[in-house]
């Protein structure tokens, strides 16, 4: 037998060994994709009965998101994410008693808040025969907030690629330095850390059905209160658990896919929540796709939630009137239209979210004064090259 092989054999072996049926390896995307999305998130104004004095206008946020994913050699992909947000409006400052003893909300600042947030993250993923490993680092900065984070994740396929187990770790270190700290008696500078672990299992049931379940635990420590709320005192530690499940089924005849997700959440502030959402991805002729979706959310109140701040509690007694810690329910619905023109894909989305005490699946002992309702509109495109 000869030990010298022709150049032709080497060339043909190289391309044949990259065939997915033979190598079965995970592979990075073939194309580079640049995506941009603009979203406007606008919270409904408060009514005069909810806030007798001052500003009624709540947050109005414009978000610009950029993403670039590009293959790097045969086994790697790089990803860059950019985010720019500009925010205006006001957020609840403190709650108090109205003329008839009912809780009312006082919004921050006569002229409201203006802030900008910029974020940049870069990541890389390396594809192996039976899975992939990846990592990313990111930095986010606002006038009064700075976050640095790192993430590592890996996944591995088993059982003839029908089962995938994923493990992820992330850590974030944040600094908080509220504006006008001395003027409003806010903390000058604080920090917090957050560490998360996620374990997920995905299973392909058959050619049209997949299920995924994931468990995550997040440990937060440091300054977890809201520095812009006058009487907000929360514990320095928080442990969060989440159990997320998703089910996808493709209907071949209808050329449509149903996505059903359910998430159960609990933390040791006392908040538990359930989220159930349903989306229908309908393919239409000429590369159009429409996606209606509906979501129900409900949560219980944190142990220290109050709807009327007590200005006389000692500073080590926990209390918060943050509506996000109240018991409530929310219903949201949205509609997306996606159209593909070759290398371009455009997406338009409208979403309406309404949170109400009466939607709550939990008993509402203390109704929040400032539950939020919002409208989000977004327009985006993807370009592959």
């Amino acid at each position: 037998m000869k030990t010298h092989y022709s150049r032709s054999l080497i060339a043909l072996s190289t391309t044949a060994l990259a065939l997915p049926g033979i190598s079965q390896g995970d592979a990075p995307p073939l194309d580079s994709t640049f995506s941009y999305k603009f979203s406007n998130y606008k919270e409904d104004d408060l009514s005069r009965t909810e806030a007798p004095f001052g500003e009624l206008e709540r947050y109005d946020i414009d978000v610009h998101q950029f993403q670039l994913i590009t293959p790097w050699g045969r086994n790697m992909a790089l990803q860059v994410d950019g985010n720019y947000e500009s925010l205006s409006g006001a957020s609840p400052w403190f709650t108090s008693t109205g003329l008839d003893g009912e809780p009312v909300v006082n919004l921050s600042g006569a002229s409201g808040i203006r802030d900008r947030r910029s974020e940049l993250a870069i990541g890389a993923r390396y594809y192996l025969e039976n899975g992939s490993i990846g990592g990313n680092i990111g930095y986010s900065e606002e006038d009064d907030y700075r976050a640095r984070y790192i993430g590592l994740s890996g996944e591995r396929h088993f059982n003839n690629d029908l089962t995938t187990i994923g493990l992820g770790f992330s850590h974030s270190a944040d600094d908080i330095f509220p504006t006008d700290a001395s003027l409003f008696n806010r903390v000058a500078s604080e920090s917090k850390q957050s560490t998360s672990l996620v374990l997920s299992v995905s299973q392909i049931i058959n050619q049209t059905t997949t299920v995924q379940t994931a468990l995550s635990i997040t440990e937060q420590s440091g300054y977890l209160s809201d520095p812009y709320k006058l009487f907000d005192v929360r514990p320095d530690d928080k442990t969060q658990f989440a159990w997320s499940n998703s089910f996808r089924h493709f209907f071949v005849e209808a050329e449509a896919a149903a996505h059903v997700n359910y998430r159960l959440y609990h933390d040791d502030f006392g908040v538990s929540s359930h989220t159930l959402d349903f989306a229908w991805h309908q393919n239409l002729p000429d590369d159009w796709r429409i996606i209606p979706n509906i979501r129900y959310y409900t949560q219980s109140a944190a142990k220290f939630f109050t709807n009327i701040d007590n200005p006389f509690t000692s500073s080590d007694q926990y209390q918060s009137s943050d509506y996000r810690l109240a018991a409530f329910g929310a219903i949201s619905g949205g509609f997306s239209v996606v159209k593909n023109w070759g290398v371009w894909t455009g997406t338009l989305t409208a979403e309406r979210y309404v949170a109400k005490e009466k939607y709550s699946g939990y008993t509402v002992a203390l109704p929040s004064t400032a539950l939020v309702s919002y409208t989000r509109l977004s327009v985006g495109f993807d370009y592959t090259f």
Partner: protein, 315 residues
């Protein structure tokens, strides 16, 4: 319990196919063979030129579309391999040459006119494809045919899937293209016979295959004689006329896909260039010339015509 040899025959890709492997459970073996056969059927349905709902039909239907079509990663890699075949054969192995094959009507033994050939040649040439990453722009009038690659690829894919199902000893045969799952339980190789193109029930060579695959290309299966001249079904995409080089080639390589591509390239070349190409490859091979001389290296040519009683024989 002693693992016994299980054999499963099925029909796919227009050929008789057979899976042979050792397993100690009849039920498990049946389950596995059904899954493996399904992989062949999947590839057949995806890359059939004749099925109206195949992915390849959708690609060919996109010819002339200014938006082009997006290739999935499997098709992208197959095209990448087809490009390597095109380059390594200096343009002879061309997946866009289907219009010529249609023009040369072997069923009715009809020789097309030079004008017909010239007009078909205008729509042939891999280099005319606008292909950038996953987007393929197929010019109007052009089509692609992956038939020269997919059967061998399917044999390799089945062998690879079988290993992932835990099968360690077995052999895949898709219409004479073989891929080894693993050697026999005693580590001995699988004997594979190569059929004599002149007499389908006799062997012209034999090889012991412990790994990799063996594939064949030949014009004996489909050819015709017209006014005393023999026309091969293998068409030179540069001239538009049937090749007059070797009559049959079998190659053993690390993969059935590689073996099949090299056998086809050798067939497309002129006789001497084809023989040199095979010799330079360093791979075990056997060929038959138009003069019916048998040659090759690394395979055992059989001095006397041996009856093809050996159950695995490459056509």
């Amino acid at each position: 319990m002693q693992a016994t040899l299980r054999r499963f025959g099925f029909q796919a890709m227009g050929s008789p196919c057979e899976l042979q492997f050792y397993s100690d459970s009849t039920i498990e073996a049946k389950k596995a063979s059904r899954r493996l056969a399904a992989e062949v059927v999947r590839l057949e349905k995806k890359y059939s030129r004749f099925l109206r709902d195949s992915y390849l039909t959708a690609i060919n239907y996109s010819a002339g579309d200014s938006l082009g079509i997006r290739l999935d990663s499997e098709t992208y890699r197959l095209l990448e391999h087809a490009l390597a075949c095109f380059e390594e054969s200096e343009g002879l192995f061309d997946i866009t040459s289907a219009p010529l094959a249609q023009l040369w009507d072997f069923r009715n033994a009809r020789v097309p006119t030079q004008a017909q050939i010239d007009s078909a040649l205008e729509h042939i040439g891999f280099h005319r494809l606008h292909w950038k990453k996953s987007r393929l722009h197929l010019p109007a009038g052009m089509s692609i045919d992956l038939g020269g690659i997919v059967k061998e690829y399917a044999a390799d894919a089945v062998a690879s899937n079988a290993r992932r199902l835990g099968i360690t000893h077995g052999l895949v045969n898709l219409g004479g293209d073989f891929a080894v799952i693993g050697p026999k339980p005693d580590d001995s190789p699988w004997p594979v016979g190569i059929v004599d193109p002149r007499k389908p029930d006799t062997l012209m060579a034999k090889i012991n295959l412990g790994s990799g695959g063996i594939a064949s290309s030949g014009d004996y299966a489909r050819c015709f004689e017209h006014e005393g001249k023999r026309y091969s079904h293998i068409i030179n995409p540069k001239t538009g006329w049937p090749c007059e080089g070797l009559r049959a080639v079998s190659v053993a390589a690390n993969l059935s896909t590689v073996a099949g591509s090299m056998a086809t390239i050798a067939m497309l070349k002129s006789r001497d260039a084809g023989i040199k190409y095979l010799k330079d490859s360093g791979l075990p091979h056997v060929y038959m010339t138009q003069e019916e001389d048998v040659g090759g290296e690394g395979l055992a040519p059989l001095a006397a015509a041996q009856t093809a009683t050996d159950e695995q024989a490459t056509a």
